[in-house]
């Protein structure tokens, strides 16, 4: 037994570096209830509970806001309105001043915050806000996309992508179809609702524990609304109970309310909306319509396409600009458009301001692209999969996107063909069609759809990250970075990177809460970028430490630097091996700096939005899914019976966590396009504001056969250990569920008409489409 093996009997080889399938770092605490979420933190003496009073009207002038009964309600300590905000009454993420923290003279959606109340208990605060007497003077409200199109009011500047002469290509195309696609929005339904808990410090200082994907922006919003420098505000988050984009900007207001009350009352203050209020108050995935004009030939090849993506943005801009941009960036999916024009219309409506949601407009663009394929398949009688393959990006001449980025890492065809073989698509499709002929009520359908997803924030400046690595004299390590943990396993992935670089067991690495006090000016954990950016920043910090230790060891032991080799939990120095902790201790005594920062910015990317040209994405992630469904043509009900997925994570940092992301994203994507329906009444009130009325997939909705595999490959670009981002790219795999239902529906008209099944494909919408298909078949 070597000396090292005696010292580290189980650690002679590192088992917790990159590419290891380690469990989530908090798994053991999740299952025992010991993982601490913000509402579980100790509450100091005198802590107050904050609640928010909401507008009941979609669009109105506030004639009178009588809060006298609120103020005198049991337990109420204070009531605050816009007039009490010491700084700027604005929480718009782009500082367009279109989103007041509290309404002033008018409200622009039913659910807009008007005032806040602080009380001794949460129950008292909740009860008190219901006592407000607000007199409204109603104004005309715009509630849906059609009405918004009529007004022409936009929340932000639209974008156009164009390459080639789309109009000419359409005019010259042998075949041409124009129609409309409707795509519904989606509620995030993170299981932990929004929450913020503020503790006042001396002078201007305040610390806010916020369930946020975006600590730096929350810090900024709190500082702006309180009118204090950013250095006075610290934001911390250890973990979220889910985010999905819903805590990228929507968390800010809650943090500001808690901070405002904490500073005014000089007490700790917490706000946690009830689920229904959370769903009414906070933005969702954007609804879209896509009007399309499509030209193609008899072989199913696209000649030209003109698309207008109109989005229901809600009352303020929030992130609607970049969301609608990303819809256009994904309106090609995997397909080459010889001539294309794509336009966004970010429309203003008197509804909640829609926001980031996993995919960030990209999935809507992909749904649009797949509708084009479906149109061609039914028009030509070709298998939709063949239409897809014929239109994939290809070699030079067929490799440029509508935004003039060349697709250099295209693996769509290889990946799709592998899945097609593995899941036996052709034979199953034939069997389904034969079986449907003999089954009058239950019809089955199958579809195989691909995904290409662009990785990078399209706002180039966001593609940066920082990390702070602290090494203690016992050889234990703390890693801090700007990324936040919402369940995706970012913390353990970043720790694996550090473990790999320093060759130490992950048990020696402490994964700490994310705080603006340790790493400043961070980007949101969004755009699937968490591991890419923060992993690289952590790697840089770890490399700095490694270099310092190498230099120190070479000097002290009098060897060349290339004779210093980091082995698992030890360092080989010439002919001897020394435990990592011993080296660290020696380095400390020799006064070597044992903390380091790391920084990373994504190379090669640039984007000129006005010109519609550039390289917004560092690389693309690919995937494909084949879904089989059964549809009841009497009621429109359906079941997803089987899905097979092949997805590209490059060289995965943690395969088991990546598979978990893919499984979850598929079900979330399929839920978006099927049972998850947001429904507003004629007065603009959201009536699907709780799980009793808003139906995310439940346990039995998962496919009974659920095969997920990772594509064997590596990132062509120098991403962190050649891995690829995985948060968003698998979500549009759920598009295959929509198309499988569509395939089943098409059977009632012998597959001769494109069902044009819109989303969400609720049982009602499916039955409508079945009836429409039957009518079309009867007419033909």
């Amino acid at each position: 037994m070597s000396r090292v093996e005696r010292i580290f009997p189980h650690a002679a080889t590192l088992k917790s570096g990159v590419a290891a399938s380690l469990p989530h770092d908090s798994a053991g605490r999740h299952v025992t209830g010991e993982a601490v979420y913000i509402d579980d933190m100790p509450e100091p003496e005198g802590m107050v509970h904050v609640y928010v009073g909401l507008s009941q009207r979609a669009h109105a002038r506030l004639v009178d806001v009588d809060l006298s009964r609120v103020r005198s309600a049991p337990g109420v300590l204070a009531v605050f309105t816009a007039a009490d905000i010491p700084g700027d009454n604005d929480v718009s993420p782009q500082h367009l001043h279109d989103e007041p923290l509290l309404a002033t003279d008018r409200v622009e959606f039913a659910g807009q915050p008007v005032f806040i109340v602080a009380a001794g208990t949460r129950l008292e605060a909740r009860a008190a806000v219901r006592l407000a007497a607000i007199t409204y003077d109603d104004l005309p409200s715009v509630l849906d996309i059609d009405a918004a199109k009529a007004t022409g009011k936009l929340v932000t500047t639209p974008m156009t992508l164009a390459r080639g002469d789309a109009a000419a290509a359409l005019a010259a195309a042998p075949r041409r179809i124009s129609a409309r696609l409707q795509i519904g929005g989606q509620e995030h339904f993170y299981l932990e609702s929004q929450i913020a808990y503020a503790v006042p410090g001396e002078e201007d200082d305040v610390t806010v524990y916020s369930s946020t994907q975006n600590p730096t922006e929350v810090q900024h919003m709190v500082s702006v609304t309180l009118g204090v420098p950013a250095h006075a505000v610290t934001i911390e988050v250890r973990r979220m109970g889910g985010g999905f984009g819903g805590k990228e900007t929507q968390c800010s207001a809650f943090a500001c309310y808690a901070a405002l009350v904490a500073k005014r009352l000089k007490r700790a203050a917490k706000i946690r909306p009830d689920r229904d209020d959370d769903m009414v108050m906070t933005g969702k995935r954007h609804d879209f319509t896509m009007d399309y004009d499509l030209g193609f030939d008899d072989d199913g090849r696209i000649r030209g396409v003109d698309m207008t993506f109109a989005a229901k943005c809600g009352w303020s801009a929030d992130l609607s600009g970049p969301v609608t941009d990303r819809a256009l960036f994904h309106a090609d999916n995997c397909y080459f458009y010889p001539a294309v024009r794509a336009v966004s219309e970010p429309l203003k409506t008197n509804t909640v301001s829609n926001t980031a949601f996993r995919g960030f407009g990209g999935p809507q663009g992909i749904v649009g692209a797949e509708r084009l394929i479906e149109e061609i398949a039914y028009a030509t009688g070709l298998d939709a999969l063949d239409v897809r393959k014929r239109n994939f990006y290809g070699k030079a001449g067929r490799d440029v996107t509508p935004y003039h980025q060349t697709v250099r890492d295209n693996i769509a065809l290889e990946l799709v063909e592998q899945l097609e073989r593995d899941c036996d698509y052709r034979a199953r499709r034939a069997a389904i069609r034969a079986a449907n002929a003999g089954s009058p009520i239950i019809k089955r359908g199958i579809a195989l759809t691909p995904v290409k997803f662009g990785i990078s924030f399209t706002l180039t400046s966001s593609n940066q990250a920082g990390a702070l690595l602290l090494v203690y004299t016992d050889g234990s390590v703390q890693i801090n970075h700007g990324g936040t943990e919402m369940g995706q396993g970012l913390y353990v992935k970043v720790a694996q990177v550090v473990a790999e670089v320093l060759q130490i067991d992950i048990s020696r690495i402490k994964i700490t809460a994310t705080t603006t006090g340790k790493v400043p000016n961070t980007s949101p954990t969004a755009a699937s970028s968490g591991a890419d950016l923060n992993g690289k920043a952590a790697e840089a910090a770890a490399l700095t430490i490694k270099e310092r230790l190498t230099t120190f060891v070479a000097e002290k032991w009098n060897v060349r630097e290339d004779e210093v080799i980091f082995l698992p939990n030890r360092i080989r120095i010439g002919q001897q091996e020394v435990p990592f902790a011993d080296v660290v201790k020696q380095a400390y005594l020799a006064r070597v700096q044992l903390s380091a920062t790391g920084f990373y910015k994504t190379p090669k990317i640039h984007w000129d939005r006005k010109a519609g040209r550039g390289r917004p994405f560092y690389y693309f992630a690919y995937g494909a899914a084949c879904t089989e469904v059964a549809v009841d043509t009497l009621t429109g009900e359906y079941r997803i019976e089987r899905v097979d997925i092949l997805h590209d994570c490059g060289r995965s940092l943690n395969p088991i966590l990546d598979i978990g992301q893919i499984e979850g994203a598929y079900v979330q994507g399929a839920g978006w396009l099927t049972t998850e329906e947001l429904w507003w009444d004629g007065k603009g009130r959201l009536r699907t504001h709780a799980p009793s009325t808003y139906k995310i997939p439940a346990f039995s909705d998962r496919p009974r056969i659920f095969n997920v595999a990772l594509y064997d490959g590596q990132n062509r670009e120098e991403s962190i250990f050649r891995s690829k981002a995985v948060g968003e790219p698998p979500l549009p795999l759920g598009v295959s569920a929509l198309h499988a239902i569509s395939d089943a529906v098409a059977s009632v008209a012998d597959y001769r008409h494109c069902p044009r099944l819109d989303a969400p494909a609720t049982p009602e919408r499916v039955l409508d489409t079945v009836d429409r298909m039957r009518a079309a078949a009867a007419k033909a």
Partner: protein
Amino acid sequence: MATAPTGAADRPDGGFRLRPYIRFLFGYDLQEISHIAPTMTVLDWLRLTKRHLGTKEGCNEGDCGACTVVVVRPDQGRLIYRAVNACIQLVGSLDGSQLLTVEHLKEDDGTLHAVQAAMVEQHGSQCGFCTPGFVMSLFAFSKLSGPSPTDQAIDDALSGNLCRCTGYAPIVRAARQACASVTSDRFDRNAAATLARLEAFQDEATVQVGDSSGIFHAPATADALAEILVANPQATIVAGSTDVGLWITKQMRDLPVLVWIGRVRELRALDDGGAAIEIGAGVTYSDAREVLALHYPDLGELIRRLASTPIRNAGTIGGNIANGSPIGDASPSLMALGATLHLRRGGERRSMALADFFLAYGKQDRRPGEFVERITVPKPTRADRFRVYKISKRFDQDISAVLGAFWLRLDGDRITDVRLAFGGMAATPKRAAAAEQALRGRTFDAAAVAAAKTALTDDFSPLTDMRASAGYRLRSAQNLIERLHLELTHPDIETRLVGDKALAHVQG
């Protein structure tokens, strides 16, 4: 919280013996509580009073399962473990039970319970917020599942737990592993002692606790219940609190007098021995399912789907009827079966056809102080056919857009008698008189189906809301008659997507 006195007091007026405190085990710690708000939920008690923070609040309405806890009760010498939603259960309703939360599962030496270990090893948690609820549902399931449960059984056990991260696939794997690996846990080792303690809690006293906000009554006998309700005619009767719970958590109603019927022995009776099935008003869906499924397989399937396991463990058929919801699933089903409702006020009793109980939206023929005592459901003859179809956006744990319940008595292929009842189609659960007329006495053929479908347009003018449009409701209701016809006449045709699909073609 004040600690309760240790003995029960006799009331000076000679009425029923009072016990001025509730008592239950929290893990293995005895709780005796006399001073408590009658509307205090188990979740708030755990999180706010006890600061046991493992149990999470996700939706506060019993629909997401993040707050799932397990309530253990003695039953015929055994411990019965039931998962329930802490957010809508009242602390008072814990009387006589053992409450177990996620914190209780680990062994004292820190070893994870088999269900916890399986969730870790199968990567069943991501954000972790729903996880304690899944763990508790799996824990309850592991107590009755056996080592290799069916997929359907796993689905049903977890039907009330939503997860937004995992897509459920790893949790299924964890469920299989957990069931295969559960051996004897700390609860099994302590079972005899726990059983003895819980059995000693069972008494005939009327529990009465409260605080300045109101009183919580929990009588143990029907006579005591009747007396309390005569004395408090405006009291809110609580059975499973799956609806009243929402009045508290969402509507924040003042409910100064609550009367919980869960301890009333007679109301918990389920009698299948006679010519009809007698279901006490306090019988839960979980308890009633097996017996009802035996006589009416489709009713068993409906009960499986009408609510999640935690809701079925709390909710009662009597409660679903008594609150008269137009979208409750039990009422139209039992109306179609020709059920009779039995009501009592004081010593006075009356019975009526269930269909006559529903007067108008939110208004039932129940007088102040009166309560539902039981429901009589006739047993089927060989000539009877019963089908019930639930249509909702999601198969499990969803409120019906339309529920159609169909009972036919056949003579050959002729319909001698028929009852068609619908939920979701009107302001109350309602029979389709015109459609029944169109079928009664006729041969059940395509022409009869067409006539009944047309007649439905006279029977109903449904509403449009977030669950479905008026048009969809009517069209799908009509199509259900077509499905009924196909299932009774064409056993070769596939008509169902979920559940035991063979039920579609059961003869009788």
